[in-house]
Symmetry: C2
Subunit: 334 residues, 2 copies
DNA sequence: CTGAAAGCGCTTACAG
DNA sequence: CTGAAAGCGCTTACAG
């Protein structure tokens, strides 16, 4: 750990250029009243010494923080959008992977303020009102992506059209002639799951098709959830002829459960997923799924965060971006 | 864009606490010569005003930058390790997704210096010597993860044991009694591909099994590469009875190509992948694959970057972390 | 324990 | 175009 010689200051540069500190400062701040020759001399010296101005440091400093639970495909898609929009806006994005939930404590919000962030984007989890109080005193805005609960506190949020997505996916299966359509959802308490489930119900009711309570399961969004949940559904009599799985992972799990029972997908069972992640095109059969605009959600979240940080009032507290049905091979006419 | 009232300064705090600026500064810097009562009063005022000290700003400021080409599962796994180790070390990690290659130009290195980073971690791509010159003048170290080429310039790098991984995967297939083993590699020029391929060759030669030139293909690491490359291999006569695919994605593509030709995996064709990404456990059959320690590579890269930033000399220029054979369902005795 | 004072790094209005 | 000088935000050695 050899002590690095002290950080370059303006006076070092001024001395080697043979000008005053004031002149160097002007070059640094792009003021017009500097002779071209002087300017370029100072510029090259600044670069040679690797000088970093405090203001540059503030911009290059991570000004926005994005927090995710992990970097699985779903979160990674959103983060990619945040980073892309950050690059366009010229702000750095710091990434944090939460070990504990955001609701862990007040230290969370204090640390954010202490780190000098200008805004925070958090996915799924949203801050408590006590945390929000600390953040708002420090004028540090928060944007939540696809909130887990209905916040009873005023936070801006961005999400996909979960209700419409559930509706569209179910209508697709109804249009194919299915009526024994099961719902394989995410965690029961998650807002995204509830909205998708009500979309499913709305489609069924509009079509005059009764929803059997045992056809609705909410194990979770992961692969094993899909294997187990779909397994239980397929063991019912009469068994469903179609499953609307609310994530691609659980849809892949459902296909696995079907194959394990000697059922062919899509001939014996149609499966529709949700997300349109990379795996959707890599399975056999390829997944019919509801595309979530992950990247776009990330971009919108970052822009909203910057507008809030600039002191703008945002009209709408929650913005939803459209989901889209992508028809591939896993759904077929009944 | 309502102009936010100017940033809180120490004098604001001092005024409301009824003490001098010097005392506030001492509280901020955790000096011992402050009365407990004064200290806590000042502390609470600092928090109420959301004051951010310049030094805190510097630490919370993103001090390390990690650059990836995209956030696919492979890169995301590494980034997760970098972020985790960053959190442990108390430094922020800024993430950048390269649109253009690092070798894009000198602006790249200049921007990094201007942003005040303390180190850069870049994956696959590595800087040119001109870029490195700028970075080293600014004492900004670089760590490359799994470098694409053998850098002829002195950079620290971290990677998996590619050669040993190729050797182990091939030995596994040889031990199962296969001899018609094909190699389905990444891009021909990638260092990781070359090392894995030589591992494959070494295993074959040690076992006295000839390597047929037509059994070696290097289309790339993605899913379509696997579909096409494996398709071509399976159309050869005699066809291979085993394929060593050097990524999980291309292994899944190979399974797809096999199924499309009426071949069962693993009964008619054994497939071994590389990475042990999430999909490896989600395919049917589940993938036998070489686990890459992505998270650990990220952690090591960050620690190396911090040591370099602290002025330490690192002994070894390139460190390799062990890969590990994970046997699942896609490989079977010939 | 406290704060006046010196000092550092930086910026900027202004005199030349 | 340049720089002396005033000033800002912060820190710290030191007198009380």
């Amino acid at each position: 750990m050899s002590a690095s010689p002290r950080r370059t200051t303006l006076s070092t540069i001024a001395a080697s250029a043979g000008v005053s500190v004031a002149t160097v400062s002007k070059v640094l701040n792009d003021r017009s009243d500097v002779a071209p020759a002087t300017r370029s001399l100072v510029r090259s010296l600044l670069e040679q010494h690797g000088y970093v101005s405090p203001s540059a440091r503030r911009n290059g400093a991570a000004t926005i923080e994005v927090q995710v639970d992990d970097l699985c495909a779903y979160f990674a898609g959103i983060v990619a959008g945040v980073v892309e929009a950050g690059a366009d806006a010229g702000v750095s994005v710091a990434i944090t992977i939460n070990k504990s939930p955001v609701s862990g404590g007040l230290a969370w919000s204090r640390d954010l303020v202490a780190a000098g962030r200008r805004a925070v984007i958090t996915i799924a989890d949203h801050p408590t009102s006590a945390q929000l109080a600390i953040l708002s005193r420090a004028r540090l805005p928060v944007v939540v992506i696809d909130p887990l609960n209905l916040p009873n506190i005023p936070v801006s949020s961005v999400g996909p059209t979960n209700f419409a997505g559930g509706l569209t996916a179910t209508q697709h299966l109804l249009a194919l002639g299915h009526s024994r359509i099961a719902y394989l959802g995410g965690p029961a308490t998650a807002l995204s799951n509830q909205a998708r489930m009500h979309g499913y119900r709305a489609a069924m009711e509009s079509a005059g098709v009764p929803v059997l309570p045992e056809y609705v399961r909410t194990p979770g969004y992961c692969y094993p959830d899909g294997v187990e949940g779909a397994g239980a559904l397929l063991d019912l009599r009469p068994a469903p002829t179609a499953i609307f799985a609310t994530s691609d992972e659980s849809a892949v799990g459902a296909i696995h459960a079907a194959k394990a029972r000697g059922l062919r997908v899509p001939e014996d069972l149609s499966v529709v997923g949700f997300d349109d992640s990379e795996i959707a095109s890599m399975t056999s059969p390829k997944l019919t799924t509801m595309r979530q605009p992950l990247r776009e959600m990330g971009i919108l979240a970052l822009r909203t965060a910057l507008r809030l940080a600039a002191g703008e009032r945002i009209e709408s507290a929650h913005v939803e971006l459209a989901t889209e049905l992508v028809i591939r091979e896993s759904s077929l006419a009944a």
